[in-house]
């Protein structure tokens, strides 16, 4: 990925997410409240910061995008309405949208099924792991 391509993807992430990183005052509440903090290489506040600096490649390649639970705690507690979860989702969407990048395929569903698996889990997983 060239520097230019990376910048273009960052601009796209900002459009998709509707996030305005310049509103962030770097208080860290988002990451402090994140239930996946310990699991992440890059944390919610870093997603906001790095995308605004044109560094999206590292984020797209990191397992951190799959640790976000979309629980909206970071959105709830942000005093500046920055919506970090939305930028994580945008980075994830950009990673999953090109053909052949689905993280979950219909063939793999049998591996997550048990007698109690709710339909809600399958629907949510498909929406989150394939585009």
């Amino acid at each position: 990925m060239t520097e230019n391509e990376e910048k273009k993807l960052c601009a796209e992430a900002l459009i998709i997410s509707g996030v305005k990183p310049e509103k962030c005052m770097k208080c860290g509440k988002c990451s402090g409240a994140c239930p996946s903090y310990d699991e992440m290489e890059y944390h919610p506040h870093q997603f906001v910061d790095m995308v605004s600096k044109g560094q999206i490649k590292k984020l797209m390649e990191s397992a951190s995008i799959y640790k976000c639970l979309s629980c909206f705690v970071c959105v709830e507690r942000c005093p500046r309405n920055v919506m970090p979860a939305n930028i994580i989702e945008a980075v994830r969407a950009l990673q999953e949208r090109p053909q052949g990048t689905d993280r979950l395929t219909p063939d793999e569903v049998k591996n997550i099924l048990d007698d109690d698996t709710p339909q809600q889990l399958l629907m949510a997983a498909f929406r989150k792991y394939s585009r």
Binding site: L69, V75, E76, M123, R127, K128
Partner: protein, 262 residues
Amino acid sequence: MEYDYYPGCTLKNKASHLDICARKAAEKLGAAMTEIPEWQCCGGVYPMAGNETAQKLPAVRALNEAKSRGRDLLCVCSACYHVLKSVNYDMANNATVITKANTYLENDPWYKGETRVLHYLEMLRDDIGFEKVKKCVEKPLTGKKIASYYGCLLLRPSKIMKFDNPENPSVMESLIKALGGEPVIDPFRNECCGGYVSAEDTELTEKKVRDIVESVKAHGGEMIVTACPLCMYNLKKYGDLPVKYFTELICEAFGIEVLEDD
């Protein structure tokens, strides 16, 4: 009181008790729930990426259907409620989504977020009132120490959900009190259970559930109630406390019998 009802996929299948008990209890409370015709799956999670309009259409169809009948749209499942209410917010506030969805669906007139989406718990609190709930109780849950588990979807983002205080909710505790039980308040009741991530990262889900269940136990809870089929699944799979849907609890206290294979 008459409501249009959006049950959702899971309530027609694995979470059938959440649905059946909601209908039976509503009957006793004098609320009529009419299932809207030809509803489609909400998708389970709200499409957060701004340019995913197609994924929002099933919700828009249901919202517009309720509007055409002039009724409020009632949900029992936390996820359906979250998706419908979030999409409804877009349909009232996001010009791009409003234009794209209405143009594609050829809505005439355009749908612009007019329908009131409400959760069954809101119906109990705001429309019916817990005093009336109390009057329907035949077998009070006396001495039962019950912890409410709200999770994420009902509460956040509160700017859109406007369901309850996101940091200190009370609607389920009020319900438990009305049913004669003893609400147990524990600090993990609005923490995430791991949600859809249990599809691939069972370790992370297990960790989240353990924190929740241990916290309930430490605060003296003997049972957990939830409104979400996925929370139910995760809490049961990785925890060791009994978990019930809030509607099952209502039926139990109302003396309404629901068979195991109903």
